[in-house]
Symmetry: C2
Subunit: 323 residues, 2 copies
């Protein structure tokens, strides 16, 4: 495989001159320039990106740590990240963690190894010290509220959203309000916020109203069964995700309860699902979060930017497939 030396030799110039035309520097004679270009074409030469990365100490690559990729929330986020990264001529290394701490911290060392210029952190299991220890090797931006003060972040105002939803349901006069979450409150800060918001707006006791381990449609069906099998059923539910909400709606139906006649339900992520079934959903604007997170990561500024959510109500009569 041809290298810069071969090009230089064949063009009858020094490698410096070749490097110059490669990088578009001025002060290269027209004829040499053309000769070099011709040789490059003839040899079908390309620079070795790793040599460039080594000497420049810069990779033009960022890493994105996500628990999973097949989840509408990360999907939107990644979408924004890819868009902005492409705009700024950066490449994106997609790093799935499966919520495993060992894997997550191995990704952080990519920074030390100089293989990426920065890291975007989403939902994770890392301890503050782990993040802090490695933030000295490169910039880290968090796409959730980050407990580490020194790390920049672009994040949704989840707590405000939770308060808004619960307050809305309370004001509507609902009496038996249930809610769901993904990971348990031990591991998930947002689950803790959910519970706290419930306690601040509805009631102190949440046992029997709260169901965790909800991630997808099947989980929704599972907890729907728990909610609707008894004689006392919820009249409003706030779920962590539209898929879970859809599962609950399906399960409720099997127990003889129909949405929207028999209960209210509010989802999250604002996917087509909520539009189709006609239930409200909280939009955290993940695409915007992704874009801004990349911008922040590639700037040398420090910031903690909160992105405002939107509780999205549907024109139920029109769009919904449910009557």
């Amino acid at each position: 495989m041809a290298n810069i030396k071969d090009v230089a030799r064949m063009a009858g110039v020094s490698i410096t001159t070749v490097s110059r035309v490669l990088n578009g520097y001025p002060y290269v004679a027209k004829d040499k320039q053309e000769k070099i270009m011709a040789v490059i074409k003839e040899l079908n030469y390309s620079v070795n990106g790793n040599a460039v990365k080594l000497i420049k100490g810069k990779t033009n690559t960022i890493g994105v740590i996500v628990p999973y990729n097949n989840n509408s929330c990360y999907d939107e986020l990644i979408n924004g990240i890819l868009k902005k990264a492409h705009e700024l001529h950066y490449q994106v290394l997609l790093l799935p963690s499966y919520y495993e701490n060992v894997i997550e911290s191995s990704y952080l060392t990519l920074l030390k190894k100089k293989m990426i210029d920065g890291i975007l952190l989403t939902s994770h299991t890392l301890h503050p010290e782990q993040i802090l220890a490695l933030s000295e090797w490169g910039k880290i931006v968090c796409c959730e509220a980050c407990p580490v003060e020194l790390v920049s972040s672009v994040f949704p105002d989840r707590f405000a959203a939770y308060i808004e939803v619960f307050t809305y349901l309370k004001n509507k006069g609902y009496k038996r309000i249930h809610f769901t979450s993904g990971r348990d409150f031990q591991s998930s800060p947002s689950t803790r916020l959910r519970i706290q918001a419930y306690q601040e707006t509805i009631a102190e006791a949440y046992e029997g109203q709260f169901f965790d381990q909800c991630f997808d449609y099947q989980d929704g069906k599972r907890v729907g069964d728990l909610m609707f099998r008894d004689s006392i059923v919820p009249d409003a539910i706030f779920t962590n995700g539209d898929e879970v909400a859809a599962g609950i709606i399906a399960s409720a139906k099997m127990h003889g309860y129909n949405y929207p006649q028999d209960f209210e339900i509010i989802g999250e992520e604002n996917t087509p699902l909520s539009e189709i079934l006609g239930f409200p959903s909280v939009d955290y604007h993940q695409t915007a979060i992704g874009e801004q997170a990349v911008s922040l990561l590639l700037s040398d500024e420090y910031a903690r930017i909160q992105i405002r959510h939107k509780l999205n109500f549907r024109a139920r009569t029109e769009a919904s497939v449910l009557s």
Copy 2:
């Protein structure tokens, strides 16, 4: 930042010896070994990944070219790719093309630049010569049926699926069968196959039965309006994607036609959407395709592997939210 030289000096050995313990080679005296490890810890040293890549000529990274990431089909595929790549200790560079040829071919040059070890190609606009020209610089595996004979591929048997769906609808006695696709037949091979399958099973003429530019829920609503606004409406529809199907169902409802009473509809990708609304959907097993594509990419074998689809019927009475 510390380098291998610093470690060697502080440990009182040569860099060769340091390199040896770094890479777990035998024949290093126990005491030197321990001393080196201690120094590495003390200096908080890590190897420079770019130097390693440069000298080894191998990156342990693969690139995945996708048109978009926020589409359930690529989502599943990427999921399989990430899983298998992680298993084989490879990293994944996610390369969005937005169906732009210039972008796509710029990604192929990453191979020449030695920045990735191989490329996974999904839906694209590349010409055979473009692929061929770069396949000499590294292995390329296609996740769709690939026109270039020399390129390995792992792909769904789309045509067989189309034939199966149309035959099924025909045998059920449906008379006015419509179908949709994404990109127009000029740019999309699968659109051409769809039309061909329709012609072979239903009828030669497809004008008025065929609607392209369908990518998401909104497009589904749009073409649903076209289909159901006239007095002659379809009694069966085969859509390219569950979201499109859902949009059509929603639009049909607004025109006074209900699923499943008034028409049959079959989607693609087998997402929760089809389960929720209870319509059949073709599962191309994209996760499996992704996993196998990675395995093939990282092997040095040549193969063209076809993955069998599955037309997935739903237990409509139970799971569906529609009566």
